[in-house]
Subunit: 356 residues, 2 copies
């Protein structure tokens, strides 16, 4: 099933209007959500729309939030998302970071009382048109076990960094701090295939190849997979994302981060408000003239792209290459949806009187 | 061979005075270098002293540099290290970042024209006594191949983040963006043991277990090890470190970073000056009151430490725990040196008339 971008965008916007989002917020949230589908991060796009709506039904998402800066210095701010859609709260906070960078060179914003914000890369890339480097982190529901831990204490806590170039397209890294994203496990689950070792541990904390291991009480593993391959580094990265996103702002952290799924209740004794994000914007010309920076970025990208490849691989990629190619393709040819996702959207549409 | 800290410190300081370092610089550089030995990063401590001296002999290190800020905004600066010891340039730049953070909440400093700066964690930890989060990156000689690349284009490019806590000791992550550090390979080389897959590729770009694979023209692998285990993420992280350290500042990047070993000449057509670093300092109270932040950090640390461990492992560690324990032990009981390192220091001492 392939659906045109504009159709899917209109559908998403209309659903969000139906739950009471203001027009501008519905448009922005649809744009953020759909950017995941365009860029091939299917697990973070429209497949999640009904999940957001269920959270709204549970009154855990506020469709008309009063998002505001509650504390600031010349280069920093804390934003309270008022339990709004992360899809709307995050761009607000990133704009605050960009404004601060215009004034003093860089801007850094930690956010509390938010919800799932879609793909990290949407927000970091907002900096690019201002000739700034953009940074975006978020914490997330606990699905990941630190090295040596049987318990799940961290989310997939992604890191995204977007860096402008000149003639070359920008460098855009957007990665979970785990070996593999949950979306990759879902693909294996549908195929009834095993996962490689290093992706998952079982409920007893033992390595497993069971692609359903997380659902059965196990956990995703931090980037590195096991101690011998540096999982303590992935654990440290996920922890940094958690602390910057939640302890700087006053959101929930670690095992207290509210679950995305509405059928699980948040911890009755939270340590903060909602979940947390962290954003940064650095003006390139706060360091050196933009033209110099960009020409060296072009040179960097060209040199890496020209590297001799390993056997069986056609070329070396620059972070962001695969997503950008897919974005162009899907914008032109439409977005493929799995049958269960399409059916889920249809029943959502029926409920709110919106046709897909 | 175990040597007392003070003996090794005095020896290092005297050698640095002999090459013409000012007293304050010799003390600081010895302090930075020895912190690696204390914290168990033996590959970055006194074992490298004769390497620095050989670079000085080749006039690639300037013992009396005029380190200065050459460009700045309220929250950013670019520092020119004047080819000085990275051990001295880096603390200078970190102090600039800390001063900026005092004024506007955060400070971000990119450095060019520097040399190897010891362990990343020394510099990030400078922020802790100011109740700031410290960040430290550096690029390094190209020993690492990006995902799908046969060529070595990146250094081990470490990331260090130090975060203050209250009653608990600070969180200190300090990690190469590779699966394993070169120092771990050296241990295997001495034992004639194989490396695990995922650490090294051979000169043809194929996976290998040869612990001498890098010396034979192969490469270290980015954190993740192979594509299936997320090596593109380690590659992206190493790239971010490279770009922040060198393209923001005007240092050499990627394959142009000058080699640490004096017997290899730097590229005759450099793209910048020396190697690059990047530092950040964020005042905790630029986001929320320090006491609140610290009490939540304590809670975070206690919760993670209390996690149920996986079978066969006694407990979950917090980043920085192993290094801190070793630091206390080695400060009291002395620093173990391998025989070849001790002999190397002795012949260095003879050359400069300093007794070890």
């Amino acid at each position: 099933m392939v659906i045109e971008y504009t159709q899917l965008y209109d559908f998403t916007k209309k659903i969000l209007l139906q739950i009471g989002c203001p027009e501008a917020d519905a448009k922005l949230a649809a744009d953020v959500l759909l950017s995941a589908d365009l860029r091939g991060v299917d697990s973070h796009g429209v497949a999640r729309l009904s999940g957001y709506i269920r959270l709204w039904e549970k009154k855990r998402i506020n469709a008309q939030p009063n998002i505001k800066t509650i504390y600031e210095t010349p280069s920093t701010a804390v934003v309270d998302g008022d339990a709004g859609l992360g899809l709307v709260v995050a761009p607000f906070a990133m704009r605050v970071a960009i404004e601060k960078a215009k004034n003093v060179g860089t801007g850094w914003v930690s956010v509390k009382n938010s919800n799932h914000y879609g793909i990290a890369g949407y927000h970091s890339m907002m900096a690019l048109e201002h000739d700034m480097i953009g940074i975006s982190f978020t914490n997330a529901s606990p699905l990941v076990s630190p090295t040596f831990s049987k318990e799940r204490l961290l989310g997939t806590n992604p890191i995204s960094v977007a860096i402008p170039a000149g003639e070359e397209p920008p460098f855009v890294a957007d990665m979970a701090t785990t070996t593999a994203a949950n979306g990759k496990l879902e693909i294996l689950q549908r195929k009834n295939a095993d996962a490689p070792f290093g992706w998952v541990q079982d409920g007893e904390g033992r390595p497993t190849q069971d692609a359903n291991g997380v659902k059965k009480g196990g956990a995703l593993l931090p980037l590195g997979g096991d101690r011998e391959h540096g999982s303590h580094k992935g654990y440290a990265l996920g922890s940094i994302v958690d602390i910057f996103s939640a302890i700087l702002s006053g959101a929930n952290y670690g095992p207290w981060v509210p679950p995305f799924v509405a059928f699980l209740e948040p911890d009755p004794n939270p340590v903060g408000e909602g979940l947390g994000h962290f954003f940064g914007a650095m003006r390139v010309d706060a360091f050196r003239p933009t033209s110099e920076f960009k020409s060296h970025m072009d040179n960097w990208i060209k040199r890496f792209r020209a590297a001799k490849p390993t056997p069986g691989n056609p070329k070396v990629l620059i972070p962001g290459d695969p997503e950008r190619e897919l974005e162009t393709e899907r914008m032109n040819k439409g977005i493929p949806l799995l049958e269960p996702v399409f059916e889920d959207l249809q029943s959502l549409g029926e409920k709110f009187g919106v046709r897909l």
